[in-house]
Amino acid sequence: MHPVLIGQLTVDGLLLGGIYALSALGLNVIFGVMRIVNLAHGEFVIGAALFAAVLFERWHINPFIVLPFAFAAAFGGGALIQRFLLRRLPEDLAAAETTSLLLTFGISYFLVGAGLAIFSGNFRSVPFLTGAWALGAISIAQTRFVAFVTSSILALLLALLLRYTALGRSLRATSQSIEGALACGVDVERVRTFAFALGTGIAAASGCLLSLIFTVNPETGANVTLASFAVIALGGLGDYVGTLVGAAIIGLAISFTGYYASAQVAQAAPYVLFILVLLLRPSGLLGRRAA
């Protein structure tokens, strides 16, 4: 148990966690406001990652440049999906949860198929910023570090948006109580559209960052979905700070199991944590039913 090794794995894990945090924040926004479980979340993330990878392959455009465009495109796409698909979900909340699960289940398969058709099954990533900095005996991969910083900036922007803008307040209000928000004159439909668009946009942004670190193909979306939900389960639904903590834990878990076991087993690590957390600390981490 060499301390340098531990240190290295810790650093790698935390940096990784930062990116999962961004992905999970996007999911948190959607789940928190709309009670919609977006099973296709991972596919949105991976879709953006593949897109960034192809742009880099063809025209050497690095993902950081692609990021704002991917965000905008996903934002628009998300708004459209909400307006034309999700809006048709039944009013009754219990049925809506079932329907949204099945709906996004269908969407996720659709996207996997589309992804395979467009990008083929090849694994891709973006080999940009391949160097590393040395911090003592620990090497910090440049790409992970920059991705982490970007992710943190975006997360911070999100936090500012939620706290200080009117739209952000409406969003938080709606996630706490729809009736209350309506009573305060909040246009709940607009907020829901905004929430879904924002969540999808954030997913795409995190996908661009993810492409720098992982090799992905259209079928790896499920892992991202599970890991993001694991983060939310650990950190608590609607608890944005908790998401950061949860993401750190997940990042560390992936990093350590990836080294001591294998990359494959590391994929299962978030899931195991997810289940343990849900079963051992059910109150507070199970997610609220709508009031």
Binding site: F31, V37, L39, L85, R88, P90, A94, E97, T98, T99, L101, L102, L103, F105, G106, I107, S108, Y109, F110, L111, V112, G113, A114, L116, A117, A222, N223, T225, L226, F229, A233, A261, S262, Q264, V265, Q267, A268, Y271, V272, F274, I275, L278, L279, P282, L286, G287, R289
Partner: protein, 306 residues
Amino acid sequence: MKRATVAGFVLVVAALALIPPFASGYVRSLLYITVLDVALAYAWNVISGYAGYLSFGQVTFFGLGAYTTALVVIHGHVAWWEGALLGGALSALLAVPLGYLMLRLRGAYFALGMLGLAQTFQVIANASGFSGGGSGLFLPPGSNTLAVYYWTLAIAVLTFVATVFIDRSAFGLRLQALREDEQVASTLGVDVTTAKVMAFVISAIVPGLLGGGYAWYLTYIEPVSAFATRFDLQAVAMTILGGIGTVWGPLIGGVLMSQVSETLAAQFPQTYLMIFGGLVVVLLLFLPRGIVPAVSAALARRRARA
């Protein structure tokens, strides 16, 4: 159930039983996969349709059954159907504690939990040498695909009959009550925990038994195909099309879909995913309760007017 319906059903089963010995290999394999999918759909329908706990990972038990059978056939020199029975038994045994644990989770988390469970089992199968790792396991040759077909058909019929019983029993009413509102159901005297665990076990044992057959049918299994997502997707899509939580839903959905899905899946796998994923979406938006309830509602309106 009306006599005509029972008679019709018996006729269909008889046809399904008598065709294969005289049919081409293509027809046989189409029939096999159709019957398999319908059986899996019925099993899914119990936990997801009647009890309302959507599971996207029942393939966990299918793969468990497949691997169990493969392993005992290879190492234990037992007959394949004994292996399949063992697979079913193991699935049931696993489903009890698993059910108690997982069914405490609310809808979304239960669905995700089952999804992750399937992924984890796949990872385990892939990583452990015992199960042959990524290259999988080869079963001894001499497989009798016809025998597997009859095994699958028998289980499909039994699962259908079980569904009919559930639909008309106190157990079925309890499941549906807890599906609608679990807390209210419990304050009305329903033992929700026992009921939903029972539903979960039923939904696990069937895939377990069928997976065993599948292993023998192919005489080769490996992690990706044993825990293939297509099994869950098919079960979900068929049941939603036909009518989730109904007696005839999975059958109608299965019959309507099977030809299309098999041809598509074999030849254009990406298009298959897109079409079936898209189909689930379209169905949920425009025909959420499926064909069977829509048809019976239309018939009821006709009768009311007459």
